[in-house]
């Protein structure tokens, strides 16, 4: 019951944001110079062809009508059809999204697996050489541009050592095992940087938790260090942890654009770039819409988990 109410309020408060977000995309992409008709006509461009295509696309209708048509479709899961191909965009996204989602999931797993334990350990040994070393390394980790890291990983692990497939791996539907293997390097490229960030955040949250009065109470009671650290302090640090995870998800979507390009992965990141190049408004709109949905959904989950993790927030 409580969960339902919590989710309900969070969803309600996310709706205006979503509408605003779609409005921004809608206006923004209309401002992108370049005529979709040119892209569609391609090598067969003639003035007549272009005029015909423009008419077909209904690009002359009013923006308000176009927006309303689009948003009402989007809410029912119909993201329209691609200008470029005439295909259903929903289907297109459906094809491209899983790869990106799996990549993000892998990256998150890598990030958490690295960041969480190291962060906790650093906090436990706060102000020691170990802590310093770790935080400095984490700071350096954050500083590495992840697409550059991706290139380095390709050079070392794909080209020189051959441990992992290089870019342009198998498609997920066709050869899942190989495709997943192909996601290892990009996931590391994305996850290492995220892990460094998580490590820093977890550390500072844990340092703060560990210096609170209630930790002193726990110590006064005689609770073991392990229980104080891994149970009490960690649960109390879960809010900043949830926050940083949420931030990571939105960062990951952004970084995926560049990293997918480097690794030749056809997820929605590369779809966004292709669509922009093709002036395929419908697709751009849809990709950004989906990305915004993912981020908003993540925020929603974070929001709900706040309320569930911390009894003080209601």
């Amino acid at each position: 019951m409580r969960i339902l109410r919590v989710v309900g309020t969070s969803v309600l408060s996310a709706i205006p944001t979503l509408i605003l977000a779609t409005l921004i995309v809608f206006l923004l992409q209309r401002l992108i110079p370049g005529d979709p008709a040119v892209a569609i006509a391609g090598d067969y461009a003639t003035p007549e062809n272009l005029a015909r295509i423009r008419e077909d696309l209904g690009l002359d209708g009013s923006l308000v009508t176009q927006y309303l048509t689009w948003i009402s479709g989007a809410l029912t899961g119909d993201l329209g059809t691609s200008y470029q191909t005439g295909e259903s965009i929903t289907a297109l996204i459906g094809q491209r999204l899983p790869l990106t989602l799996i990549l993000m999931l892998f990256a998150l797993i890598v990030a958490i697996a690295i960041g969480l334990p190291l962060g906790v350990m650093a906090a436990q040994k706060v102000d020691t050489t170990f802590d310093r070393f770790l935080t400095t390394s984490a700071t350096f980790g954050i500083a590495i541009p992840n697409f550059w890291l991706g290139m380095m990983l390709i050079i070392v692990f794909a080209l020189n050592l051959g441990w992992f497939p290089g870019p342009g791996g198998a498609s997920l539907a066709e050869d899942p095992a190989q495709a997943l293997r192909g996601l290892v390097l990009p996931a590391i490229a994305l996850g290492l940087v995220g892990g460094a960030e998580i490590c820093r955040q977890v550390r500072s949250a844990m340092v703060e938790s560990l210096s609170t009065d209630y930790v002193r109470t726990h110590r006064a009671k005689g609770l073991s260090t392990a229980s104080i650290v891994w149970k009490h302090a960690l649960k109390n640090s879960s809010l900043p942890f949830a926050t940083i995870l949420g931030i990571q998800v939105s960062r990951l979507i952004g970084s995926a654009v560049v990293v997918e390009a480097v690794f030749g992965l056809s997820g929605i990141g590369s779809l966004a770039v292709e669509a922009t190049n093709q002036r395929d408004y419908g697709v751009i709109q849809a990709v950004v819409f989906v990305a915004a949905m993912i981020i908003l959904l993540t925020n929603l989950i974070v929001d709900v988990s706040y309320r569930l993790l911390d009894p003080r927030i209601s």
Partner: protein
């Protein structure tokens, strides 16, 4: 007088920091607490009351502090020869802190925190710990304990939280309870309730209490004996009635005279000029001398805690002199 005191502190000294920055926060703190006795520890802010409590509880961070001296609880030493502390879970001592809001873990329910303690300190099964927890909440005067077990700290009022804190402390089955300003953050009417509660529990369980406060009124109403601290040192100790009726140390009497009271309106309040010297400040001789109105040349000499009367001791060379001339009040 042959009873073994529950707590016997001898020459407790605490240092903070390292090397150049090292400062001494406690100087030769020695005192005892008898079974069932409530001892008040008073002094201005920064005089070392909390440091004393934390040092005894073993809650000072070993990385930034260093403890010297010895303390025995119920005849067992708290530190071994290598200065290692006994495992906390074995020491029958518990503490109640000043801020009940922050001292309770905000994301675990009251029941969880209580039961966790009971299981750890008394080795109870979860079910029995639960029953014991209900009893404890009842004992500290919380109505509807069953419902309160599920409550989170933020859902409770300040007084209620402090009661929970006391319940958690009692779950440690302590011989000695250290209460560090347990009522400073609550209202007077609630304070009255809590003082009654602590006194009642101490009496019922034969538990001793080290009651830290800066409020002499509270000491007067709650404690059997009192210890006055100043700048990390004990400057006076003795039975509450005697001390408050006629303080031997100029600092204690200064504190008393500074208190406003409804009975003496319009009186100009006595003040103690200056402030408590921070630890680290080099002082030879009596630490209180710079603020003392009875300061004399002799006060430049170091002074030890010495007997004043049968039950009282004082760290002032001129104590008798001042006392007899009745220079104060």
């Amino acid at each position: 007088m042959t009873t073994v005191p529950v707590l016997n502190v001898q020459g407790l000294e605490v240092f903070f920091g390292h090397g150049e920055e090292r400062v001494q926060a406690l100087h030769d703190v020695s005192f005892t607490i008898e079974r069932g006795e409530i001892v008040g520890l008073v002094g201005e802010s920064g005089s070392g009351k909390t440091v004393t409590s934390l040092a005894l509880m073993g809650l000072l961070d070993p990385r930034s502090s260093r403890i010297e001296g010895q303390a025995e609880l119920d005849g067992t030493r708290l530190w071994d020869d290598a200065n290692r502390r006994r495992p906390q879970a074995e020491v029958p001592m518990a503490m109640v802190f000043q801020e009940p809001m922050t001292a309770l873990d905000p994301v675990f329910s009251v029941g969880y925190q209580l039961i966790e303690t009971l299981r750890l300190r008394q080795g109870l099964s979860t079910a029995r710990a639960r029953a014991a927890a209900l009893d404890l909440l009842d004992a500290v005067g919380i109505s509807d304990p069953r419902a309160r077990l599920r409550a989170y700290p933020h859902e409770l009022s300040g007084g209620m939280r402090q009661r929970v804190m006391i319940a958690i402390a009692l779950a440690c089955a302590p011989q000695l309870l250290i209460a560090d300003e347990p009522t400073t953050a609550v209202d007077v009417t609630i304070q009255a309730q809590l003082l009654e509660l602590i006194k009642g529990i101490a009496a019922d369980r034969g538990m001793s209490v080290l009651f830290v406060t800066h409020d002499l009124g509270v000491v007067a109403e709650t404690c059997d004996r009192m210890i006055t601290m100043y700048a990390g040192r004990i400057v006076e100790r003795g039975p509450v009635g005697e001390v408050l009726a006629a303080p031997a140390h100029p600092y204690t009497s200064g504190l008393l005279a500074a208190l406003p009271s409804p009975q003496h309106r319009d009186r100009r309040l006595a003040t103690i000029p200056g402030r408590v010297p921070p630890p680290g400040e080099r002082i030879t001789g009596c630490v209180f001398a710079p603020r003392c109105q009875h300061r004399a040349d002799i006060c430049a000499e170091p002074v030890e805690l010495g007997p004043f009367s049968a039950a009282r001791e004082v760290r002032c060379v001129r104590a008798h002199e001042i006392h007899t001339t009745g220079a104060d009040t």
